[in-house]
């Protein structure tokens, strides 16, 4: 498909966001802002134990609490066949526990009451008796002969969930054996959590008279929810309406269907009232989809001159108690085999073993296109380890190994075909802007004075826009996305999408795409998402897929409108359709461009004066099945200074030069990058959900799960290059996740660079002061 030049200046402009007026005036409508008549409140009783037999649940004390109407347990759900539900990853998950609990904060019972306070009172009063069982916390011991078997409900009596491979293991082994230099490194990407500022929640409203269920829910993928609900609760799909109101941040944690939603639906059916359930922060951090938790071992084989030849990666993935990660169904490790990154490897092999532990389920979330963050971190870290082994500047090593621009489209040894890229140009721009050579000179001087300064580079490649339907589906649902546009008689348009934004600015950027394609100002295009009754079917917003997939649908849907409008234009211009051209936002007569009609003219005519034989109206729907992924890339450079006394790392500078193809709204792109970098910074330096030996979650609220404030957050410098995607209708690639995918390695590379005079090659995240201090002490550095 050819790239069309933006037909109106609307595209590429830093338009102020259309969604903002309601948010800055407190008029957003988030889930908890909705109150329905007769609405009840639900609170969940959760397990304090990580692994225990469920001996007895006594509802009576809770039922005696004033205002409490019902207590629902797993046994109650079992009667309806709803105590387990299927996960998106092909496993199943308990809705309310029966028999035993498998992680701390697992859902055990639900209390429904007349008020929020009474629901909490009731939950505190439910008496549950447990018998503690041996706890499995460390994934590395999950397959030990003596390890407790967690999922005795499964046929396979093992804690192993699956084994997955990609690439040619023989060829990789051969190349590795022949390599002049090999390096090997264990790298752990810790368990962390997206934790948007709004927690998850829902209101289930089953109208007994109509038989219709409306579920208001904090969802990034409302249509998927509708279909899953229809399958789980065996309700006819047309009788379910899922509404995702304004969403207060998602970052992937609002893709999966959580047990609380299913219980709320049951509670609404049982009580005949709407039932609201909103998580506390503790419930959110303690039970919803975590991110990462990948134990990786990476090996690179290279020549002495630093030309990489082979990459081999073994990974142990900790999936928690249920395999409920929201991945494309045929891709259990997601897109992890993007791990050859920006470099030209002749051979590569990756395998992943997934195991159960007594921790909450999840695995794919936090601004990450299906395990791409782990992959990018791995290769960018490994390149620095190789540079250290070869005593080469990491920048030079990268220069030597970039896939050259002339080899695109480029197919990696692990099977991906990169659409477009110009890595050297992007890289040199970044290094020039930050003054890389000067920084290295400064570093030499500082090192001579005993100071610890580090420079870290990440030159990453992302894979986003899941995905082409031949290979990508979730529970069989192909991963297309959709747009529906109606142009009204007065030339104003309504555009609806199957995705659901959570702050990405779709109401503005999609209006810019549609407006630019139709010659309308963005202000005249109203964008609507989130209501399954009105929006066309779509798979949702995550994995940076909105622009690559729904953005493509927006452009192509608008072009479908334009095709019809062209017929009307010919009718109005009294010429043949083949004589009409679309130029500068108008339909013009070829050779007489002053004879022109606007889209508004055509829209009015579509309803008032359609050409004979043409169906009236001006509407279209488009389901866009992307021919390939898009592959955004970039170069990030971090400059850090370490306090040798406390181990504190100060990020002095951070530059991000992104290439996300054609930019729709530069202001929004910069905002996405700022936010993603801040999350990457948090992951690199402070965020982890650790568990103690009993499986207690040690970061179950914001006093322990650390979200950086404005004080810790560095100042971000941004710039970009533009390499359009050749297959995307407007050449865009998507950007939301790049900064989070690309930045952790830049931070860690910078810190390890600062410590490299001590012989340090790697330090695992999070790079807390204590961890750095310990490295310094182990190498004899003591300071005040």
């Amino acid at each position: 498909m050819a790239i069309e030049a933006p037909s109106a200046p609307v595209l590429g402009q830093a338009l102020k966001r259309k969604e903002d007026p309601r948010f800055i005036q407190g008029q957003g409508r988030y889930l908890d802002d909705i109150r329905l008549t007769g609405m009840l409140y639900m609170s969940l009783v959760r397990s304090p134990y990580a692994h225990a037999r469920l001996v007895k649940i006594d509802k009576q004390p809770a039922l005696a609490v004033p205002g409490v109407l019902a207590v629902i347990t797993g046994e109650d759900l079992a009667g309806l066949g709803l105590h387990w539900m299927p996960t998106l990853a092909g496993d199943k998950q308990m809705v309310l526990a029966t028999g035993k609990v498998l992680f701390q904060y697992q859902e055990v019972a639900a209390v429904v009451a007349e008020s929020r306070a009474a629901a909490y009172d009731g939950a505190a009063a439910v008496e549950v008796e447990y018998d503690a069982l041996p706890v499995l916390v460390d994934a590395k011991h999950a397959l030990d002969p003596g390890a407790p078997l967690l999922r005795d409900d499964r046929e396979q009596k093992t804690n192993q969930i699956w084994h997955w491979e990609s690439g040619d293991s023989m060829a990789t082994a051969a190349a590795m054996a022949k390599a002049e230099v090999t390096v090997k490194q264990d790298v752990y990407f810790p368990r962390c959590h997206a934790s948007p500022l709004e927690t998850c929640g829902c209101i289930a409203d089953m109208n007994k008279a109509t038989g219709r269920l409306t579920l208001y829910v904090t969802s990034q993928a409302p249509h998927v929810y509708r279909t899953v609900l229809a399958m789980v609760a065996k309700l006819p799909e047309q009788m379910i309406r899922v509404v995702s109101p304004d969403v207060g941040g998602g970052f992937g944690v609002k893709v999966g269907v959580y047990p609380g939603y299913v219980v709320a639906v049951v509670a609404s059916i049982v009580t005949g009232h709407p039932v609201k359930w909103v998580e506390t922060r503790t419930e959110h951090l303690g039970s919803t989809a975590f991110a990462r938790d990948y134990h990786m071992n990476v090996e690179i084989g290279a020549t002495k001159q630093g030309r990489v030849q082979a990459l081999r990666v073994h990974t142990l993935a900790d999936h928690g108690a249920f395999d409920s990660q929201a991945n494309p169904s045929k891709w259990p490790a997601g897109l992890f085999n993007i791990c050859t990154g920006s470099y030209d490897f002749a051979a590569a092999f990756v395998d992943v073993d997934a195991v159960y532990t007594n921790k909450p389920p999840g695995g794919v979330s936090y601004r990450c296109s299906f395990r791409v963050t782990e992959a990018s971190y791995l290769i960018e870290r490994a390149m620095d380890v190789l540079a250290a082994e070869l005593k080469m500047d990491p920048a030079d090593l990268r220069r030597k190994n970039f896939i050259p621009p002339e080899r695109f489209p480029y197919t990696t040894p692990l099977g991906w075909t990169y659409d477009s890229g110009n890595y050297p140009a992007n890289f040199e721009k970044a290094l020039g802007l930050i003054g890389y050579d000067d920084l290295r000179r400064e570093q030499t001087e500082r090192r001579a004075r005993g100071e610890l300064m580090g420079i870290g580079i990440s030159s990453f490649t992302e894979i986003v826009g899941a995905g082409p339907s031949a290979q990508f589906d979730i529970l069989g649902l192909k991963m297309f996305d959709s747009a529906e546009i109606r142009v009204h008689p007065t030339g104003k348009a309504l555009a609806r999408f199957g995705v659901r934004h959570q702050g990405q600015g779709h109401e503005t950027t999609f209006a810019q795409i549609v407006g630019s394609e139709l010659g309308l100002p963005a202000a005249d295009v109203l964008v609507e998402e989130g209501d399954t009754d009105t929006a066309p079917y779509g798979l949702g917003t995550y994995g940076s897929r909105s622009t690559p997939v729904a953005g493509g649908a927006a452009a192509l849907c608008a072009r479908r409108i334009r095709e019809k409008a062209k017929k009307i234009a010919a009718h109005l211009l009294e010429c043949g359709e083949h004589d009409v051209e679309w130029a500068d936002g108008k339909f013009r007569v070829a050779g007489a461009p002053e004879r022109a009609v606007t889209m508004q003219d055509c829209a009015f005519a579509a309803y008032t004066n359609p050409p004979p034989g043409l169906e009236p109206g001006l509407e279209a729907t488009y389901y866009y099945d992307p021919p390939n992924f898009t592959f955004p890339f970039g170069t990030y450079v971090a400059v850090v200074d370490i306090d040798p006394g406390t181990g504190e790392v100060k990020v002095r500078r951070f530059l991000a030069v992104d290439d996300c193809g054609v930019v729709i709204n530069p202001m929004i792109v910069d905002g996405q990058i700022h936010g993603g970098l801040t999350e990457g910074f948090a992951i690199a330096f402070m965020q982890e959900i650790p568990y103690d030996s009993e499986g207690n979650c040690l970061a179950s609220n914001f006093t322990e799960y650390l979200v950086p404030t404005a004080v810790e957050t560095p100042h971000w410098e941004t710039d970009r290059t533009t390499t359009p995607s050749p297959h995307h209708p407007i050449g865009a690639k998507g950007v939301g996740e790049s900064p989070n995918v690309g930045s952790p390695s830049a931070f860690v590379n910078a810190v390890v660079d600062a410590l490299s005079p001590l012989g340090v090659r790697h330090v695992d995240m999070p790079l807390t002061r204590e961890r750095i201090w310990r490295v310094l002490r182990e190498h004899g550095v003591v300071s005040a």
Binding site: R116, D121, T280, T282, L706, T709, R769, S783, A784
Partner: protein, 289 residues
């Protein structure tokens, strides 16, 4: 989350508040800023029967210098102290502490006395005010009694307050000439409890020797700690790199931190050393000629 139900009273005088405490038969709890208590109530780890809100007692708002002391009433907030020009000029230890307590919004409601009564060893004011040799003024049915803050802070979450007593005021000696002070804190991010922190109050003689020094350690034991050995070895000494290094090492030896997500024992103990050294240097720099 919403706390368990409780009764609420907002007395207008200290005497009324004490009477309410007595009447509540140990089920009563004083509510000042509430910034530590209310979150615990929301988790239902604390569930008092009666909350006695002392924010409406005018006499507890006292905040002035008098008879050689800075008097800080029970309702003086961290923010009020942080913004006080008088504190900024004459009490650099308190000024540098106030800036790092919790976060700026919590500081608007949280009180210095409330933080002391909470007696969390990772609370900043315990260490800072021990260094400042502050006095606790406790009011009960029998009237007022005054004690060094060292004696007021008994153990983790435990003070010398009786069931029917209120910490009505804390008194900080006004530093003489040639005095300086500083508070050094390591926190993982704004709003976190200290990983370790050290407060120093220092007075030098005309000759430059240490005439008086107070060193308080935060998050370095079950309760805010006075670094007695370090203090002892500095008296009469010239404050130079050698004496500071030795004192810092002594403070670290005395520290008894516990391991938690903020760090292991050896790290925290070493941070006591580093911060003691830095606070001593900074306190010396804060002395005005």
């Amino acid at each position: 989350m919403i706390p368990a139900a409780f009764e609420y009273a907002a007395p207008k005088t200290v005497a009324e508040a004490i009477a309410l405490l007595r009447g509540a038969d140990s089920g009563g709890k004083i509510l000042a800023g509430g910034q530590s208590l209310v979150p615990m109530m929301r988790f239902r780890l604390a569930a008092p029967n009666l909350l006695i809100d002392i924010t409406r007692i005018p006499e507890l708002r006292i905040f002035k210098e008098e008879s050689g002391y800075l008097r800080i009433g029970a309702m003086v907030t961290h923010g009020e102290l942080e913004r006080s020009a008088m504190v900024g000029e004459r009490y650099p230890l308190l000024a540098s502490t106030a800036r790092v307590v919790a976060d700026p919004i919590v500081r608007e409601r949280g009180t210095i006395c409330g933080s002391l009564v909470h007696a969390d060893p990772a609370g900043d004011w315990g260490a800072a005010l021990i260094a400042a040799r502050a006095q606790a003024v406790v009011t009960g049915p029998a009237g007022e009694r005054t004690m060094p803050l060292d004696d007021f802070l008994v153990d983790t979450f435990t003070t010398a307050l009786g069931e029917d007593e209120i910490l009505t005021e804390v008194r900080v000696p006004t530093p003489p000439a040639l005095s300086g002070g500083n508070y050094q804190k390591i926190e993982r991010k704004v709003g976190d409890f200290a990983t370790a922190a050290v407060g120093v109050q220092l007075t030098l003689s005309e000759q430059g020797a240490v005439e008086a020094v107070g060193i308080g350690l935060c998050a370095a034991g079950p309760v805010s700690l006075r670094a007695t050995a370090a203090e002892g070895m500095l008296i009469g000494k010239v404050l130079d790199d050698a004496s500071i290094t030795a004192a810092a090492a002594a403070a670290a030896t005395q520290a008894e931190p516990t391991a938690d997500t903020r760090g292991a024992i050896d790290y925290k103990r070493d941070m006591v050393r580093v911060l003691t050294s830095r606070a001593l240097h900074a306190a010396r720099a804060a002395i005005r000629a």
